[in-house]
């Protein structure tokens, strides 16, 4: 029962492999390419499922916000407005792409896909179920967060390439935000490593079989939630975007599918961050009765729901206040959490 979905994925992979072997021989494709083709096909299937989930998340966010706002949100396209996002994607695809005169044309074109890719890379190391991951590395935690730290740098470049003062201010704010949250984030990851004694995400999840990390490190879980909000640049820490101040900041000069890619990037990032939160603190795939993948997805979506919820009633701090929050409160608290983790390892295990 518990291995149903994993079995299905494995069966699917085997079936695709045999299919490619058969047709590869038939069409004369060299045999060293078969493995890559299998990987590519699996990637496309996975990405399709992932994209559908992202569309669901966007729809969920719209509906939840609408409910809290005391309004109906999307209703017209499809049942309860479910296909509105597909309509939006189509709209963004066919919109005119405008490159401003002041913008750097090369970077303006090349940066949006790079940013989208950078947010997607951590997905390869996230374990969705016991055998359901792309690669297992002994240092996958470092890889995931290392790649994610690239994103603010890319945003800075994106802001510069936009060729407007507003986009540049937005980019610099993103860099500033990275400076603010990176130290507490590192300390929090360290406390996880101390408790689980591993840098491997699969091992980290396996170590939570009896007790989840959120129970072992309650303060750490709370701090990580806040730091995650900062890393995601979601309200109230949407300082680089700040609609009222710098008119969605670094995205201002990008239109059409480039804007669509940024929009997608935001939600890829959202999903990746939520799954990392689940992996690090909420025991990954563990849960009774239901298959592991289902448990994992349920937890991820609940975490995302929490992030959607906090978005709605907090006022946005100023950039200098964000620095103060991080340096004055978050870093000492993160150290406290680290001490707690060391104490936990010494006294309870």
């Amino acid at each position: 029962m518990t291995d149903l979905i994993t079995n299905f994925v494995v069966q699917l992979r085997n079936w695709i492999a045999s299919l490619i072997e058969y047709y590869g021989e038939l069409l004369g494709i060299p045999s060293w390419m078969w493995g890559y083709l299998v990987g590519l096909t699996m990637f496309l299937i996975g990405f399709l499922a992932f994209g559908l989930d992202i569309l669901f998340v966007v729809w969920m966010e719209r509906k939840v916000i609408g409910r809290i706002h005391h309004r109906r949100s999307v209703t017209e396209t499809g049942p309860i407005g479910f296909f509105q996002n597909i309509a939006d994607v189509v709209k963004l695809l066919v919109k005119e792409d405008i490159v401003p005169i002041g913008a750097d044309r090369f970077f303006h074109n090349i940066l949006p896909p790079i940013a989208a890719a950078a947010t997607l890379i951590p997905l390869i190391v996230i374990p969705f179920a016991p055998q359901l991951y792309v690669v297992r590395l002994s240092t996958s935690l470092l890889l995931a967060f290392g790649v994610m730290a690239l994103v603010p740098g890319l945003i800075l470049l994106i802001g510069w390439a936009g060729g407007s003062k507003y986009t540049l201010i937005g980019g610099f704010r993103s860099g500033l935000q990275l400076v603010a949250y990176e130290i507490p984030l590192g300390l929090l990851l360290l406390s996880i490593v101390v408790v689980t004694k591993s840098l491997d995400l699969v091992a980290i999840v396996e170590s939570q079989a009896q007790l989840w990390n959120i129970v072992k490190l309650p303060l750490g879980a709370l701090l990580f939630f806040i730091v995650g909000t900062m890393e995601l640049e979601r309200s109230p820490f949407d300082i680089p975007e700040a609609e009222g101040e710098i008119v969605v900041g670094w995205r201002t000069e990008y239109s059409g599918i480039k804007f669509g890619l940024f929009y997608g990037t935001e939600y890829f990032h959202f999903f990746v961050m939520a799954s990392l939160y689940v992996t690090l603190f909420l025991g990954g795939w563990y849960g009774p009765i239901l298959p592991p993948l289902v448990w994992f997805l349920i937890k991820v979506h609940l975490v995302m729901l929490m992030w959607i919820w906090v978005r709605l009633t907090f006022f946005r701090p100023r950039p200098d206040q964000l620095l103060r929050i991080c340096f004055k409160y978050m870093i000492p608290l993160a150290f406290l959490n680290l001490l707690w983790a060391i104490g936990y390892v010494i006294f309870f295990s």
């Binding site: 706002h69 005391h70 309200s235 009222g244 009633t313 701090p317 100023r318 200098d320 206040q321």
Partner: protein
């Protein structure tokens, strides 16, 4: 001190240089200055006598006599007295010394008069084209010899582009670490079409120049081509968020000109409507101001929900939901009699007030029990006490600065004397205090509405008919009211026709928004929406 003593003192100091004028209104002091060059000295004397703000500068083009008359209004913070200083300058070379060093609040009025009437103010620090393109070569548009047809051949498009860089020379001279940021005309924090040019270093704003006039409609000039009843409809469009308030100001000014008194029930109903309009306006402000500093529009939809209910109530009387034209000359709306007010209207208003109180508690919890709100609004955009009076602030902005000044108390009109309410004031004069004052004002308005509904005579005439020939009077009409955004004044001059000779409007928003010039110095870029939002911009009123 009374008007007599002030006039005696002025006469003693200036002798033959000034005439004391007989005023139509009690408590108003009228002075005619014979030599325009002596104006600053008279202004200085008035300041010594306790007049603290220049409310308005009106220029009237008497084309038959080949002169332009300037009328300055000065008000006091402690009594209903207003000083009128009149002086005349020749039409072909109108020049007067600026009084900005004595009354800082005159800066924006002098800019406006210069721009639209072509009067040069000698010694003004920032006399520039604000409402017109910088190289405007036609006659000033508010003069009598300006024909609107002249502007048809004017090449607006290229001129607008030039107007976009008025500080080009300044920009070239400065060093590299300083940059200029143009905020607006299209920017979400601007709440309309106006522009702030910021001189920034890093994240700090060193200097800010506000610029208005992007949607100027010239209603003051337009009014000279319309009859009194027709103008009433324009007054809705001054401030589309608080249209009834301007209706009331205009109706009061015309009634003053005609010398008619409205019936008693109409007075009460007008007060109730004006207070409902104040709540509508403040709710709209709250919606926009919350969205500005980042609550992702949650409050926006909550407050708009309350506003809709008020719209329903006003709709029952007027049939319209935004621009009502409900307060008309001689009474209220289409109703001749108080008995004809729809059944249950009064009860519905009371029900609304009850529910509104409950909702206000909720909103206060959302805003004032939110730590992030304190962090965001305390200690920014500070202007306090005398500085606020000097800069020309009125309304909630002035009260947040700690000055207990409200036209409803200082110079009560309609039935405000008979109702009981308080004037909320702030202490620190920052953005937080302005929020607090507006919150409290909404609650006080609810109190006033309740009292009015209880005490109002429920029968009797609501409107007296003013036959068209009666409008053909010559003279002056003047009204000042407390609008949601500050002190509104309307000065109207009739010359025997069925159309006014000149209409002049004091827009409180224009004066309050010019405060950004002072408030934004040293603020952060991130504070800009909070500060601008706390001033409650409504561009329809600025560019009337």
């Amino acid at each position: 001190m009374s008007v007599n003593e002030w006039s005696r003192e002025i006469k003693e100091s200036f002798g033959d240089l000034v005439d004391i004028l007989e005023m139509k209104w009690k408590n108003h002091l009228g002075i005619r200055v014979r030599e325009p060059d002596k104006l600053p000295e008279v202004a200085k004397k008035l300041k010594e006598l306790g007049f603290s703000q220049n409310l308005l500068i009106t220029a009237i083009d008497w084309i038959d006599e080949n002169r332009i008359e300037l009328v300055y209004h000065f008000n006091r913070m402690d009594s209903r007295a207003i000083a009128w200083v009149r002086t005349s300058v020749p039409r072909d070379n109108p020049e007067v010394p600026s009084i900005w060093k004595i009354f800082r609040s005159s800066v924006i009025h002098e800019i406006e008069t210069f721009d639209l009437m072509g009067v040069t103010f000698k010694g003004h620090p920032d006399l520039r084209r604000m409402f017109l393109p910088p190289d405007w070569n036609l006659p000033p548009p508010q003069r009598k010899d300006f024909d609107p047809k002249m502007a048809r051949n004017y090449d607006w498009r290229s001129k607008v582009y030039e107007a976009y860089n008025p500080y080009q020379e300044v920009i070239a001279k400065e060093n590299d670490t300083i940059y200029y940021l143009s905020v607006g005309p299209q920017h979400p924090a601007m709440h309309g079409c106006w522009r702030l040019l910021l001189k920034c270093e890093g994240d700090t704003i060193l200097e800010a120049w506000p610029e208005f006039g992007f949607v100027h409609r010239g209603i003051e000039k337009l009014a000279e081509y319309r009859t009194y009843e027709q103008i009433s409809i324009f007054t809705d469009r001054f401030d589309y968020i608080a249209s009834l308030a301007w209706n009331l100001t205009y109706a009061m000014a015309v009634e003053d000109l005609l010398g008619i008194e409205v019936p008693e029930p109409a007075k009460w109903l007008r007060v109730a409507l004006a207070e409902m309009q104040r709540i509508i306006s403040h709710l709209t402000w709250l919606a926009a101001a919350c969205a500005d500093i980042g609550t992702f529009h949650s409050m926006f939809l909550y407050t708009i929900r309350e506003r809709e209910k008020l719209f329903d109530l006003v709709e029952m009387l007027s049939g319209a939901r935004l621009t009502y034209t409900l307060t008309r000359i001689g009474g209220v709306g289409i109703f001749k009699h108080a008995d004809t007010i729809p059944d249950g209207w009064f009860n519905r208003v009371l029900d609304f007030v009850k529910e509104f109180r409950k909702r206000m508690k909720e909103y206060e919890e959302i805003v004032f029990s939110n730590e992030t709100f304190y962090v965001r609004t305390r200690g920014i955009g500070v202007i306090r006490g005398k500085a606020a009076i000097e800069a020309g602030a009125t309304g909630p902005v002035l009260r947040a600065a700690g000055i207990r000044y409200d036209v409803r108390k200082i110079a009560p009109y309609m039935v405000y004397e008979e109702v009981d309410f308080e004037i909320p004031t702030g202490t620190k004069g920052d953005v937080f205090d302005r929020w607090y004052v507006r919150f409290r004002e909404m609650q006080e308005s609810a109190r006033i509405i309740e009292q009015v509904i209880e005490q109002m005579p429920k029968s009797g005439p609501l409107r007296i008919k003013v036959p068209p020939p009666k409008f053909k009077v010559s003279g002056e009409g003047f009204a000042r009211t407390e609008n949601p955004r500050g002190e509104a004044m309307l000065y109207i001059i009739g010359r025997g026709g069925d159309k006014p000779y000149r209409m002049r409007v004091r827009s409180p928003t224009l004066c309050n928004l010019y405060l950004t010039h002072y408030l934004l110095r040293g603020a952060r870029i991130a504070d800009l929406p909070a500060i601008v939002g706390s001033l409650d911009p409504s561009m329809g009123e600025v560019d009337r």
